[in-house]
Assembly symmetry: C2
Homo-oligomer: 336 residues x 2
């Protein structure tokens, strides 16, 4: 078992930094597209054999230093009974979006073992086949809620913000319920064998700081306190780089940084005992290979000697990335 990732999460890595890529099992891979041609995205998330197979694809093809469970942040909302489907070219659709405090009260209680057992089965199939650590994950409560309220992706989270601002009490109830679900889901994943987890607050940048503190960080803090005693937790609050000083206060084992932030400056403010992950702009992977190398080396130099640095992107990899660019990036980091 390669332990680079776990060493880095303890800030004890004396070797080169580990590398994995957000959404590394994705449409940019021909092997993924071949499976996707035969199965719907939800089938791929629901079937343990497919979860195991897809999670391994990028490890086999490129040899990243960690695997991240193939799943989706919306499997929890689905398990709560709001209905989920994916439409090509549109993205996720929540079939029965939440509209009122009554809808929150009607959400299913979280008995994840009944309704997310396929995730556990997938992890159990997968674990014996992996020679790298397995990262589990979930969406943060606010990010999950935004889909459940908007009914899908949204450019401005208008309904979510209106609810949050005009009825904070029921919004807090929703956040609290989702935080418990996130904890239950992560605990299940940990019991099944994941060795670290990442929490995706993908829409943190949509919130003004006061709201982010009240409706996001308060719940992330709770999750980190409960889960961080079991396995290392990486927090990814996308679009909230200006609030890194407050993110740090939640004391996760690692923070994942979006592409906006200057990693050298981040290094100055993050305690030396906290791992830092990021933050290559995934669009760099569509540039000529010499640019891929140049930009990767820039980050490697900025983080040189940091025992907790984890090389990653500042956001998920995009479908248009050429396979050669990923190969080049992985080689560049692993030969550093």
């Amino acid at each position: 078992m390669k332990t680079l990732l776990l060493d880095a999460l303890q800030c004890r890595n004396k070797s080169r930094p580990p590398i994995w890529l957000m959404r590394q099992a994705g449409r940019y891979m021909p092997e993924y597209r071949a499976l996707r041609a035969k199965h719907s995205f939800l089938e791929m998330c629901h079937q343990p054999e497919l979860i195991a197979e897809i999670t391994q694809l990028p490890i086999r093809a490129f040899g990243m230093d960690a695997a991240i469970l193939f799943s989706d942040i919306l499997v929890i909302p689905e398990a709560l009974g709001v209905g989920l489907r994916f439409e090509d070219g549109v993205g996720p659709i929540i079939e029965r979006p939440l509209n009122s405090a009554q809808d929150v009260a009607k959400l299913l209680s979280i008995d994840m073992h009944d309704r997310l057992n396929y995730v556990v089965d997938g992890i159990r199939l997968l674990k014996p086949t992996l020679n790298v650590p397995l990262i589990g994950f979930c969406g943060a409560p606010f990010t999950m809620a935004s889909y459940m309220i908007e009914g899908g992706s949204s450019r401005d989270l208008r309904k979510t913000k209106q609810w949050m601002l005009s009825d904070p009490t029921s919004f807090h109830q929703l956040m609290d319920h989702l935080a418990e679900c996130a904890i239950a889901s992560l605990e299940m994943q940990i019991d099944a064998g994941v060795q670290a987890v990442q929490i995706f607050e993908s829409w943190a940048g949509m919130l003004a700081c006061a709201q982010l503190r009240e409706f996001s960080f308060a719940y992330l803090d709770k999750i980190v306190k409960r889960i961080g005693t079991k396995v290392p937790v990486i927090l990814f609050c996308r679009g909230a780089s200006s609030l890194i000083p407050e993110t740090i206060k939640m004391n996760p084992q690692g923070i994942s940084i979006d592409w906006n932030a200057d990693l050298a400056a981040v290094r100055q403010i993050v305690p030396p005992t906290m791992a830092i992950q990021g933050n290559l702009d995934p669009h760099v992977l569509c540039a000529p290979l010499h640019v891929v190398r140049k930009e990767a080396k820039r980050l490697l130099e900025e983080m040189r000697g940091h025992p907790g640095y984890i090389f990653n992107l500042g956001h998920g990899i995009t479908p248009d990335v050429p396979v050669d660019a990923v190969k080049t990036l992985i080689e560049c980091v692993q030969n550093h």
Copy 2:
């Protein structure tokens, strides 16, 4: 003439903070929609009488402490010959997007006096009617380039980034040309009577920090150096809150802060001689009026006693904002 805005830009305001709103003459106003029903958006930008009329609408209706010239950041690209139209429900369309270094070489030289004289005429009509300072503006070079390359709005600026990363030389030529155009346009506006200017780097958040420094800040710095000696310059680098320490180094008279940043924390790092503008989330204006007051007061308290604070939004006002919310906000700030 009310001087609160100009006092604040000199950090010498001992009274309550001035307030104006980005895109304050916009679709949320019934008077604006009535004019828009009779004229295309481009006609509204091109006709001096309409420019003057529309600029005044919000001042008459709400009594903001500053007017911002009604125009669009794309009038410069239009003047450079790439073709511009606006489609309802789509937004701006650049008819002949830039595809290559050759296209950059073919751009018209900037003789703005010939091709933007309607802006000057609009300002001259407008000035005698105003009892508040008039703010001019332009798009930053990178933001203008992004529209010229993408052909319109884009979620990811993919083509722009690819060009920038794979052929930085010609991209720099484009930035240089657009910086000269921005300077020429701002000088014309100043000669015609605007008393301060704001530069909109609306897509700053799309760039990783290394690229932002090289392809955006280098040119903003040049513009600030040339224009800041004439009138106060406000820089708005949207999505780049984590790089405020570097934005400050360009030494603009004011910086406008998007809604993500914590204004109290920003206040700690911005020199006391630099004005700070922002940063209410415009979505707050769609919330109940007591929430509008509460959130406005939060900002007012955070910035209490700062002689350079300018109340504004963290982004342009949206069409769905109720007129009553704007009235409430203005009253709340002006009675503070």
